[in-house]
Symmetry: C2
Subunit: 371 residues, 2 copies
């Protein structure tokens, strides 16, 4: 296959280097926008994947409604390029809710919450800041991580938010179908189950006079099946802009749709049957592949038969048993990581390969913002 990164591979001055390909990024964004437009679903991409104001701007220019972030530090940075931000995280502690309330003075801020305590304390912070924060009630649709599990609990939270009219604004419902990794053609049943759960909540709210103007869900694995959740008004995929071996091996995209790669150097071939790249867990993360956990810690474009079997912090070991022509010491190779989001978070810069093939350094503006 053609290696999108062949040109950049020889041009980066040091390795490991994370390269982002503009052409692939634009294709990935436009393909999903076309699908979403045809189903009248908005996209509010999760910026945790790229952590870049520049890529966020490209998403907004391609038609996205707003942006999603996990942490408040990210919200502050992304509010410089977008006026409508959803914090997809139970930001209930004093530090987070104070900063959100302050940001809400000049921006539309929305927060997903799953507790009365969270609602009470956010109302307190917004009152103190003299601002209004939108709240989406987090409903657990099967991921079992956050979110209330029954329509009655969701109604209790919505009612509490509505009572705080002024500092808070009831925006709607938040859910995350992160447990759905079935192949696209098998997603209809689990997504219809999600649709039913949400339908119950919406119906109960309606009978209490409450409305969910936003129903926010979606993930990269379910992105192109979003129409199976009839009440959904917007989706929050993150990975789709860059893709990775998780989305490739699960069948959600092709290898050529991967817009991010790590250019590495083979730094040792001393141990028989092995080659060592200068990218370990400090570059690739120790994340195993979601659907094929034994496939190794990434995929080598030049030597697809070389499996990355073990990572130390700075060493990646390639098992060459199935490699007819093994790589040479000092050679550069291109790795597609299993999970691109935490991988971007580990770098200090990205190299952006523009449409004309030139490389420019791109900042990772929200790197390491965990609070």
């Amino acid at each position: 296959m053609v290696n999108t990164f062949e040109n950049a591979k020889e041009r980066v001055t040091q390795t490991p280097s994370l390269v982002i390909d503009e052409h692939t990024v634009r294709q990935n964004l436009s393909r999903l926008q076309t699908y979403a437009d045809s189903h009248k679903i908005a996209i509010r991409p999760h910026t945790k994947t790229h952590k870049s104001q520049q890529l966020a701007r490209m998403q907004l220019e391609s038609g996205c409604r707003g942006l999603t972030v996990a942490k408040v530090g990210e919200a502050a940075v992304m509010s410089e390029v977008c006026d409508d931000i959803l914090i997809a995280y139970p930001a209930i502690d004093l530090s987070r809710r104070t900063r959100i309330a302050e940001l809400a003075r000049n921006h539309t801020m929305r927060v997903a919450l799953d507790s009365l305590q969270g609602i009470d304390s956010l109302a307190e912070s917004a009152t103190a800041a003299g601002s209004c924060v939108g709240v989406l009630v987090d409903v657990n649709v099967g991921m079992n991580r956050t979110g209330v599990s029954t329509a009655q609990e969701a109604l209790a939270l919505a009612t509490a938010v509505a009572r705080y009219e002024g500092p808070l604004r009831l925006d709607g419902i938040f859910f995350y179908p992160g447990h759905i990794w079935e192949p696209a053609q098998e997603q209809q049943a689990p997504l219809q189950e999600v649709d039913e759960r949400l339908g119950e909540v919406i119906e109960l709210w309606r009978s209490a006079g409450l409305q969910a103007s936003i129903v926010s869900g979606g993930s990269t694995p379910t992105a192109y099946q979003s129409h199976w959740v009839s009440s959904q008004t917007e989706i929050r995929p993150g990975t789709h802009i860059l893709n990775d071996m998780n989305t490739v091996r699960a069948g959600f995209c092709d290898l050529r749709d991967c817009g991010a790669a790590i250019v590495c150097t083979i730094v040792s071939t001393a141990v028989s049957g092995k080659a060592v790249i200068d990218a370990g867990s400090k570059t690739l993360t120790n994340d195993r592949n979601v659907t094929q956990p034994d496939s190794g810690f990434g995929h080598c474009l030049e030597y697809p038969a070389a499996r990355i079997t073990r990572l130390s912090e700075e060493h990646g070991e390639l098992d060459l048993s199935d490699c007819a022509n093994p790589p040479a010491l000092g050679e550069r190779v291109t790795i597609i990581p299993n999970h691109i989001c935490p991988c971007v978070n580990l770098q200090t810069q990205m190299q952006f390969q523009t449409l004309d093939g030139s490389l420019t350094a791109m900042e990772i503006d929200t790197r390491g913002m965990t609070s």
Copy 2:
């Protein structure tokens, strides 16, 4: 047990926060120094664990001979506090060897190499820079990651280095017994095997008129058994300064010897039987425990029965099945990570708890330096 971080836990302004305890750090350093002094073995600690000039200075003040780094960016930063630095990495590519040769103009730089190509190209760079770089021949003693496997290969490399007298200097032998994680009392046999392999190399070098003035090995798991490798002149442990659940669960230290912890907030208790902390893989890494891989992604000091069973990037899920008194929403808890080195690398700052109990921000000077 007493929680070393109890005081800091309430004083950090936001979570997750990495706290380093000075008292524990000083104890850990002094204990190993006493052992090493009694066996006349030097310590050249690996700074990848803490990535901090301030902690490196404490190590040098406690009696360490020099410092170890993995990458050249780290060498540049650490050369500001120490004049004798070993790059424990096959730095064979143009960018790395050029920078090493430049640093060697004003500092003692030593590099572990395992290939003739690496030796030839480093000599070329040192010649160009007008400097002299020390070389340690990397011998594989069972880790099977880098290093030559036979005494004959080690001799061939040593001979090549010796021929480059001027730009290169033959410093000795490098090895890494990273495969040895047996309990201390079972390490005698594997370490004696290492000793024999090294003995063969040293004997062959001697018969060829070559000397290994430095024999550099050691790891945190084997640190206190270093005397079983008779030819070893220095050890390079990293983790021992802070410790983590890897060293605790393997029996190399007690929980109270852990000098680093992540202070978190419980941000969700909506899903029955679970609590969610605001530290996921972007804070704790996805590293499993080395000797007890199913023990969870870290250890909660306040709720030892709460197992951290699943991490997303920003969520850590605690299974509360065995917890008589579960934590409350909004409560802060203290987590000892499985593997502290990559965990430090993910933070933007550390909070340093000094001997008087005050907290000061400490930079992570070599964070993210992968090249």
